[in-house]
């Protein structure tokens, strides 16, 4: 039996992470799941947010 311990924080770009957590991972029919349409919506709203991008750049640089 292995114990779960907090892992050291990884410095990863949010875009790389979103590629994986939104488009990857097992899709199960939970009571709440993200549909493909909703994932597309996330990408659309991400692009819309670019215009007010100061928070985005902060997130992207992992601050």
């Amino acid at each position: 039996m292995s114990e779960l311990e907090p892992a050291p924080e990884r410095r990863i770009a949010l875009v790389d992470l979103l590629d994986r957590v939104l488009a990857g991972g097992v899709v199960l029919s939970g009571e709440v799941t993200l549909s493909i349409a909703e994932v597309d919506l996330v990408h659309v709203s991400l692009r819309a947010l670019i215009t007010s991008a100061s928070t985005l750049e902060r997130s992207l640089s992992g601050e």
Partner: protein, 259 residues
């Protein structure tokens, strides 16, 4: 009143337990382990007022919320991958109603999870991103066109001349990306191409021509790094970036069950 009936799923593994140091997940809730059929689901409780289907939709459009949630999800998935020989990560925002529903899931899909865990044991996901410098590629494309020879290529050359420099550069970039992906995939157990990232999101001026994910045997990790370095130096105008190790998000393997 807060309703913490939701169970956010991070990953499914075998033989993991909570440790002495508290591991927290989304919304800062402590992570728990639910077991059934020899499998362990790593979960934390979530408030349905924030993580239920309707509120989730609007929260996902809040970039700060999305970033915090994605990083919290990844931190727990990473902890599971480090502790267990293998773990199947769940898609972001998979929520079940109550512990029993999660245990039912483990029992119902035990065979599928078992197969997926076996495939992931001893392997790690890596990312390779390829960027093309449009100017350098245009030059390479020009050169290739002028050096072309052989009777059969006459038509192609004429056709090529009709294309704009940008189109030629794009074709060159696509061909390079296919070759790169093919070579790297040759080393991998499984390979997958994610769509190129929006330059505005990635902050990169250069074109992203490859956004690949590769599931590689751990014993071949050094070889992967060497191949990426070699390919990056062989191809003028293309810059490669190796990312990872990643939890096996792109190769989670369990198919969505049919209703």
């Amino acid at each position: 009143m807060a309703d913490k009936e939701g169970r956010w799923l991070y990953a499914v593994a075998r033989d993991v337990a909570v440790g002495s140091r508290t591991l927290t997940g989304v919304a800062g809730e402590p992570v728990r382990v639910l077991e059934s059929s020899g499998l362990a689901a790593v979960v934390s409780d979530v408030d349905l007022a924030e993580f239920g289907a309707e509120p989730l939709k609007s929260n996902l459009e809040d970039l700060d919320w999305l970033a915090d949630t994605a990083r919290a999800h990844d931190a727990v998935v990473t902890a599971v991958v480090r502790a267990a020989p293998a773990a199947v990560p769940l898609r972001l925002a998979t929520v079940y109603l109550g512990d029993d529903r999660v245990r039912e899931l483990l029992t119902r899909r035990a065979a599928d999870f078992g197969v997926a865990l076996d495939q992931l044991t001893g392997r790690t996901e890596w990312g390779v991103k390829g960027y093309a410098d449009p100017d350098a590629l245009a030059e390479v494309a020009e050169q290739a066109a002028s050096e072309g020879s052989g009777a059969g290529t006459a038509y192609l050359l004429r056709r090529k001349a009709q294309l704009s420099a940008r189109e030629r550069a794009e074709q060159t970039a696509a061909a390079r990306a296919d070759r790169l992906h093919g070579e790297i995939a040759g080393l991998a157990t499984a390979a997958r191409r994610h769509p190129p990232q929006d330059p505005k999101l990635s902050g990169q001026r250069d074109w992203m021509v490859l956004n690949g994910a590769y599931l590689v045997d751990d014993v071949l990790a050094d070889e992967l790094a060497a191949i990426v370095e070699r390919l990056g130096s062989e191809l003028p105008g293309v810059r490669l970036e190796l990312t990872g190790p990643w939890p096996p998000y792109s190769f989670a393997g369990v198919e969505q069950e049919r209703e």
